[in-house]
Amino acid sequence: MTTQTASATSFLQTAQGGHLQPTERVLVGVLGLGLALLGLGGGRARGLILGGAGLGLAAVALRGSNPLATALKIQQNEAGETLVSDAVTIGKAPDELYALWRPLERLPQIMSHLKDVQVLSETRSHWTVKGPLGNVSWDAEITADEPGRRLAWASLPGAGIENSGEVIFREAPGGRGTELVVRLKYKNPAGTAGAVIARIAGQEPSQQLRDDLMRFKREQELGFNPTTEGQTSGRNKSQTINEKIRNVS
């Protein structure tokens, strides 16, 4: 599961937009056929509308792809795992950055969705994330550790959310520091629909990852993150849209 190579295409090539899970396909298909049958019994206008909607849903079920998820650019593979990846270039050497990621107990300072990581042994650790319905925990193990180059982990069997991830530290050309690539793979417990709802609610991991990587870059390059929070305006105390976005994620 975590044997991907450093090539970006091999990770993303497995993604094909939003993939409906088998149960989701059955549900959508039954709903679609039901609507189509109702359409057959009705008048002309009602028949056209219900029949059309029904056949549309049936086609979605047959194709097995969730058009909503695809439109929202949620990447999933055949197995229904959601793929999230992003990258940032940071003006520091790969070794220096690797050294900040390797002590897993410090990861929650970098990745905002993590609440806590406890190191159990050289390779084993216990992870906790904040979920919409409370905390979720699992045990994970390090599956690859190449100092200064790559770090990978995967959840152990029995995890509530099956997931894995890797971080690649690649020297940027022209002395520009490090290209830091993060790839995460997880099975959303609520299927494709869950991924869509999470995206609309603004809790989607790819947005979180983007913010996390930029925050990490700025901390490394500047030692702090520039902000406008608390500045004066003609708004009294109401927040701007961007402040709201930041405070949600």
Partner: protein
């Protein structure tokens, strides 16, 4: 303090708001002694730059006196007189290190928004220029918070008046960069400048400084053309003659070697393209009206440069890409790397090569800003450039 506030599309007001405070160790607070309204502020007034929010403090051309510094500010002290570039640069990232200050990686807290609209990684933040560009409070106010003070405060130690150095914050470097981007061959190249507003005026004079054989300025407002002529440029009034025909004749059929679009996304002009743009912009089918850019591309000589200091915000329709391809044109555009130009251009001012205050038509109190935004937008009363005194009494307008 008093500040100019964006209250919604076509609504600007002066309000009393809390004084700015130091938020981060690298910040400083500047007491503003002079501030100007920029042509690009009019795009905000008209609502064509997305992501403005009611209550935003406007203004990105300002200068003043340092009154407070954060503990990590090293190059400035309280009492220093400074001009502040309109863009905010960290000075540390790869772009700043190479002098591409407006492309700074690190100063836009709202990078996610800019990335969604413009792709790749967001450029740096700007003062008072929408949340897409960072949402930083602007300097049409009595005080302003300046982040990255060591990068953003350029000391003025000579006895020059505010009016002579204020435009180093934006329009002089912007016009200069536009001319520099043309790679003018001295004594040979002909440069046409579309738009005789403040940036066009500085672009034309900068093209002369860089050795252009001839500079031709195109506009429709007589007093603006007259101001350009004072500097020894030739002019074309596009309401009186066909621009393309006139430029062809003036350049022996070749077209200008380089063209500068100092107009941007709210071009006037006429013809079917202009009518279609206006209709589409009103219906929000296109963001940007590009008559000036179309004329620039169509008139430009083969192998020439289309330099674009004018601001664009979104998508354009009916862009003559075939003409640009057929003639092998080079496009140069983007926000100005202001920090690069302040010292060399200050030197030119100190040597007396140019007095940037030539462009000022209106001086007034900050209290009169709402009225002057309209005067400037409608080009009434010969308005070319407005400078505001944040401490002046109400109704001191000329």
């Amino acid at each position: 303090m008093k500040a100019v506030i964006w209250q919604g599309t076509n609504k600007v007001g002066v309000e009393t708001v809390p004084d700015p405070t130091i938020l981060q160790a690298t910040d400083m607070i500047v007491k503003v002694t002079a501030t100007a309204i920029c042509g690009s502020d009019l795009h905000l007034l008209d609502g064509y730059i997305p992501s403005m929010e009611k209550g935003d403090i406007l203004g990105h051309e300002f200068m003043g006196e340092v009154v407070e510094i954060g503990p990590a500010v090293n190059n400035l002290k309280v009492g220093d007189r400074v001009v502040v570039p309109f863009n905010i640069a960290c000075g540390v990232c790869d772009y700043c290190q190479r002098g591409f200050f407006s492309a700074c990686d690190n100063t836009n807290p709202n990078h996610r928004m800019a990335e969604a609209l413009y792709g790749a990684v967001s450029g740096g933040g700007l003062f008072g220029y929408s949340h897409l560009y960072g949402g930083y409070a602007g300097g049409q106010a009595q005080y302003v918070r300046v982040p990255f003070a060591d990068m953003g405060g350029f000391k003025i130690e000579s006895g020059l008046r505010d009016e002579q150095v204020l435009f180093l914050t934006d329009i002089f470097p912007t016009g200069y960069q536009a001319a520099e981007n043309c790679n003018i061959i001295p004594g040979r190249d002909v440069v046409a400048v579309f738009g005789a507003g403040p940036v066009g005026q500085f672009a034309a004079r900068s093209a002369q400084m860089l050795g252009a054989a001839r500079v031709i300025v195109i506009d429709r407002v007589p007093e603006r053309l007259a101001l350009a002529e004072k500097a020894g440029t030739e002019t074309v009034n596009y309401e009186q003659v066909d621009v393309q025909v006139a430029l062809r004749e003036m350049t022996g059929g070749r077209g200008p070697d380089h063209v500068i679009d100092a107009v941007g996304l709210e071009a006037h002009g006429h013809g079917p393209g202009a009518l279609l743009d206006t209709a589409q912009q009103k219906l929000r089918l296109t963001f940007d009206r590009i008559t000036a850019l179309r004329w620039a591309i169509m008139s430009c000589a083969k192998g020439g440069t289309v330099s674009m200091p004018g601001v664009y915000g979104g998508l354009v329709n009916e862009m003559p890409m075939g003409a640009a391809f057929a003639k092998g044109l080079i496009f140069r555009m983007g926000q100005t790397h202001t920090h690069r130009y302040i010292r060399p251009l200050l030197e030119r001012i100190e040597k007396g090569e140019i007095d940037p205050s030539f462009v000022i038509s209106h001086r007034a109190s900050l209290h009169d800003a709402p009225e002057l935004y309209e005067t400037f937008r409608d080009k009434k009363n010969g308005c070319i450039k407005v400078v505001l005194d944040p401490w002046g009494p109400p109704s001191a307008a000329d």
